[in-house]
Amino acid sequence: MADALTLPPPRPRLLSRDALVSLAVLVALAAWPLAASALGETWYVNLASRAAILALAGVGLNLALGYGGMVSLGHAAFFGLGGYVVGISADAALAGTPLLTWPIHIEATTHLPTLWAVSLGVAALAALAIGAISLRTSGVYFIMITLAFAQMLYYFALSWPAYGGEDGLPIYVRNAFPGLDTYDPLHFFALCFAALVLALALSALTIASRFGQALQCARASETRLATLGIEPFPIRLTAFVLSGAITGLAGALYAELNGFVSPTMLGWHTSGEIIVFVLLGGVARLIGPVAGAVAFVLLETLLGGLTEHWQLGLGLVLLGVVLFQRGGLIGLIAGPRHG
């Protein structure tokens, strides 16, 4: 570290402090289930899968919220849609009925990669529709209209009996991934972790690309971007769709992990919690949502073990972070964000 102090700070360092912290967070997240598995504590392995999945949802939101400045309070819509793709397919596969008979015939599948592709696609389409309308507005209107669209899906899921209504859909049989045993908690964690790392890599590439620069410029100053001859709307919409798709994939994994999907996944508390992961970790930092989700799951488990009223403690911690530690946890460790 002494070297870092004497050298002038070159910008494209191989391992900046941010990158080191990111790596440490990922290594810790991977080491946790390995250690738990060695000790025979399956429950903790599943807890790590939960953290990785929630982190993935946060990574998705971070693209829109952190880098694009689009404060979406409706990402539960994409999370829940991803979950319902898995739930509806599992329901049809169990009953042996086709998924769709009209306009085209589609058989239900238990092939995970296919289901994930469908989840990504469905969430992306929903994000395209919701984004196309919501992005006409900005600021507080955007927050509320994304919230309202997610609530619309929530109430639909609640009152539509074909998909389980209020009770949701159970997923009795875990779907299969070629070459892996998805019933093995460690194998399942590996899948979740791989999805998370892929999403992080995709985010990093996106942010560093010309597109990502334009997106961040749109957050900072729409006028400046327009002066450069770039229309902000398509940039934002593309980022919103990408963001929604990643969160949708997280929803599919979440339903699979719990063996259950219910309207709660679409509810606005879910949207709030995904924002919490991002802010708790640090907005517009690549690893922020991962640190935030891990911290959230730990808080939930530790406080939940002490008292059934753990949400009170969570609320106080959150309030403290917003009022007094604005950079989130990663900001606390890695210092203020550059640029």
């Binding site: 507080v140 669209f149 604005r326």
Partner: protein, 305 residues
């Protein structure tokens, strides 16, 4: 049929005016302080709980109602002084997260106080009767009273904002915050007063509706989200917009629930018609909102320019 129509129209009016009690506070707080407050539903719940506790202790709904409004206003003032003040200069994201944290804190607090069981509020005896409408439909007096209260509040708010000195400061605050501080208005006190006013109205709504439903943790959240829809439709910051938006949402939602299942029954078998109708009815107001925003992105009555 006429009786049914009148009944549904009154239901829509009552629902809309209840939403107005929530939406007016939200829109005032946003218009004057630029604050987006997700915890407004908590104040609604506070009003209902205080009313239920006080009514149980005194045996009178009216004392309960007073206590509900007072408790919500007091909690509102305390929250404003303790937390909200630090958020006015922050961006919307911080406001969303901080007020989301407040929801967790207050909901869990209420769960600890009430033991997690729903409480029941009795409709006061003087209003427990019915009024006969044309077409032999008996309409509960209590719901008519809520309509009366909602209209009175709308009128009172108009008078407060158009005619009084406080209203003048509120209007000035909506158009230029720095200027009125420079003119010597105590901006801190004004903000606390506006927030407490909004909180009191939310508490009034909670206490009134508490007697129709049960008083329980989380009761404010569905209403809060509908109130958001209302102010987005009406134009955030505009009281007039909140009233129009609230009535529109109240009537559309009630009409959807009353008529859509029956309308679909003309096309589909009854069980399916009920399901499709109910599902569509629950989405209807969001479709209205999307339509309004697609045509007028700043709502029907944009307050700022």
């Amino acid at each position: 049929m006429t009786g049914f129509l009148i009944e549904q129209a009154l239901n829509g009016l009552q629902f809309g005016l209840t939403l107005f009690l929530m939406a007016s506070g939200l829109t005032l707080v946003f218009g004057v302080m630029g604050l987006i407050n997700l915890a407004h539903g908590v104040l609604y719940m506070t009003g209902a709980f205080a009313c239920a506790f006080a009514a149980a202790a005194t045996g009178s709904f009216w004392w309960g109602l007073g206590a509900g409004v007072a408790a919500a206003a007091a909690v509102g003032a305390l929250v404003e002084i303790g937390v909200m003040r630090r958020l006015y200069a922050r961006d919307h994201l911080d406001q969303v997260l901080a007020t989301f944290a407040l929801i967790l804190i207050f909901s869990e607090g209420a769960r600890m106080l009430s033991g997690g069981r729903p409480l029941w509020l009795e409709i006061p005896e003087a209003l427990s009767g019915h009024l006969m409408l044309p077409g032999d439909v008996a309409y509960p007096l209590y719901r008519l009273a809520i309509i009366g209260v909602g209209l009175a509040v709308a009128l009172g708010l108009w008078a407060l904002i158009a005619l009084t000195r406080l209203g003048m400061a509120i209007r000035a605050g909506q158009s230029d915050r720095e200027m009125i501080a420079a003119l010597g208005v105590d901006i801190g006190a004004l903000y606390t007063a506006v927030f407490a006013l909004g909180a009191g109205l939310a508490g009034l709504g909670g206490a009134l509706i508490g007697a129709l439903q049960s008083v329980e943790v989380g009761m404010g959240e569905p209403v809060l989200i509908l109130a958001f829809v209302v102010i987005v439709i009406g134009g955030i910051g505009s009281i007039r917009g909140a009233l129009v938006g609230a009535l529109l949402v109240g009537v559309v939602d009630t009409a959807g629930r009353a008529f859509l299942p029956a309308a679909f029954a003309l096309l589909y078998p009854p069980a399916e018609a009920t399901a499709i109708g109910a599902a569509l009815a629950s989405m209807l107001i969001y479709l209205v909102m999307a339509l309004v925003l697609a045509l007028r992105p700043k709502g029907l009555f944009p307050a700022h320019g």
